[in-house]
Amino acid sequence: MTTLQLFMYAGAFILVLGVAATLLVRDLIRRLIALNVASGGVMLLLLALADRGDGEPDPVPQALVLTGIVVMAAVTGIAIVLARRVEQLDDDLEEVEQ
């Protein structure tokens, strides 16, 4: 197995793992982390594609990954705010019940 194949299989595996966890886990913060793991898998795959075999990496996939990371950072930020609102609401409801 070449290094390229290793990275590509690893990327696909991490993506599947992350997506499965995103769908199955109930806790909001864990789900969010799972989503980030899944995106890590895609990024790994893209970075593996940058290997042209001559030691000089192809800059285009690297630029794509960089953009992808920025997008995920924005998504994670907004998700954390929303998760806090949801949990705040749950806490308030629990207080009312007690």
Binding site: L23, L35, L46, V75, I78, A79, L82
Partner: protein, 485 residues
């Protein structure tokens, strides 16, 4: 200014106005957003004339040609979809400007600007990576828009975010495969260079899964009936009418460019058609069983998404794929116009009655007959009855099905129409009061005049476009799908 530079306006004008809106007071932000929507509509008309004149309008941004630069192009599909987006944004912002309840807060204005820029960008994008980035901008703006519905909408917004971003990751994988296989992200170049049937099939399959999640295509639809009704009415209208169209258009583009390259495309297209058929029936039946206006209309969107993807199997089997393309595009436009009208009218009724529950709407027809009429007319267009735009689109899809010898799509198109008719009738019936008994109608608070006029004007527009659809059909055939842009 040359016609090519016009392509930039629908993307950058709303973006600039959105950024300004964040710091301007509400009145000024609303006025600017409305002006920008009118300007975008005018640009769509100008682009339409240019397309009729000389085919697709192409712009290499900043003079850099692909593969280094980004190519934006407007063909018939881009032009009519930009027109739809301008009309939807105009209607939603006019109502939101008249009554703040429809907007849900000041953040509405900058977010609408970002969302409009992103959808218009998707409509003119010709490379998969630009499409991906704009789709993400759209997701972030839409999730934030849902969250404007108050603290209780946060859970719905978060659920939407998880599904939408997972869908994006699948599409990003398709982008990675496209680049890895062809060495370019430009759609036309990639389609020229791609030669491996299995990889192209995988690109289509990943796009189908990703976009199905983002568009709420059955069986990945369960987030939509939660997220769309949770938002304020003007936001629900934009989400249902416009936001889901961006992912539909990306699915169409991938089918347009990569579909002819692989034998695997036909079975995938059939799978999309089957999912669409299930969506039409499942969405329709569940819409019949809901007892809140917004929830019924949201399930109606789930059902209508089924019609929008029905062109995918038909373009592979019909002898003239253009009929299927144009029919599918027209039915999508008709859904956009009718759904804005329906959600805004529903918002007006709910504000007046103080509840969105069907059993609380008794008597609203006596006080707000035109608002109820807007729901009725929009329902007629969604059901695909003449003389509306929905009818024209459905008629062309029926022709394409007959042409392909696929009578089962025909049964579906007609059966789905019956379901649409039934849930529209159910909404209308809830607004009636017994003859002479106005006790229910007396306590209504009457909404602002704009709130009554806008839904009716849009419902009327679906009739006008249904009577003169040749204008749209001309533009769509001047730069046909699969013609290369």
């Amino acid at each position: 200014m040359s016609a090519a530079a016009l392509v930039l306006v629908p993307v950058f004008l709303p973006l600039a106005v959105g950024a300004l809106s964040a710091v301007l007071p509400r009145r000024a932000a609303a006025t600017l957003t409305v002006i920008a929507a009118v300007a975008t509509l005018m640009v769509a008309v100008l682009l339409g004339i240019a397309v009729l004149d000389a085919g697709p309008v192409r712009l290499e941004v900043a003079g850099w040609a692909p593969p280094v630069g980004i190519l934006l192009a407007a063909d018939g599909l881009s032009v009519v979809m930009i027109g739809l987006s301008a009309i939807a944004v105009l209607a939603a912002t006019l109502v939101a400007a008249a009554d703040d309840h429809f907007a849900g807060g000041h953040a509405f204005w900058p977010l609408v600007g970002a969302a409009a820029a992103a959808v218009n960008g998707v409509f003119v994008a010709r490379d998969v990576f630009t499409a991906f980035v704009l789709l993400e901008l759209l997701t972030i703006a839409s999730v934030a828009l849902v969250a404007l519905g108050g603290t209780r909408s946060a859970a719905a917004a978060l659920r939407y975010l998880f599904v939408a971003v997972t869908g994006s990751l699948f599409f990003l994988l398709a982008v990675a495969l496209t680049y890895g296989h062809t060495g370019t992200v430009d759609l036309a170049r990639a389609a020229e260079r791609a030669d491996d049937t299995v990889i192209v099939g995988a690109i289509i399959a990943l796009t189908v899964v990703g976009m199905a999640a983002k568009t709420a295509l059955f069986p990945l639809h369960s987030w939509l009936p939660v997220a769309h009704p949770a938002a304020p009415a003007a936001v629900s209208a934009l989400l249902s009418a416009l936001v889901i169209k961006a992912s539909i258009v990306i699915l169409w583009r991938i089918v347009e460019y990569f579909g002819p390259l692989t034998d695997l495309a036909a079975p995938l297209a059939t799978a999309v058609g089957v999912a669409g058929a299930a969506a039409v029936l499942w969405g329709g039946v569940l819409a019949l069983r809901r007892d809140r206006l917004k929830s019924i209309i949201a399930y109606s969107t789930v059902a209508q998404v089924g019609y929008m993807v029905l062109l995918v199997p038909l373009v592979f089997t019909a002898s003239d794929p253009q009929v299927a393309w144009i029919g599918g595009i027209l039915i999508t436009l008709a859904h956009g116009v009718a759904k804005v009208a329906m959600f805004l009218a529903a918002g007006a009724l709910a504000t007046a009655a103080g509840t969105s529950r069907l059993d609380g709407l008794e008597g609203t027809i006596s006080r707000m007959p035109w608002t109820v009429a807007a729901i009725g007319l929009a329902g007629v267009s969604l059901a695909g009855l003449p003389p509306t735009l929905g009818f024209v689109g459905k008629w062309m899809l029926v022709q394409a099905s007959l042409d392909a010898g696929a009578w089962w799509w025909l049964a579906l198109l007609l059966g789905g129409g019956l379901l649409t008719f039934a849930y529209t009738a159910r909404m209308l019936r809830a607004t009636f009061n017994p003859p002479g008994d106005f006790s229910g109608a007396r306590e209504l608070t009457r909404p602002a005049r704009t709130v009554a006029i806008v839904p009716l004007a849009l419902a009327a527009l679906s009739v006008v476009l249904g009577l003169i659809p040749w204008l749209l059909i001309e533009v769509l055939s001047a730069a046909p799908m699969g013609g290369g842009a």
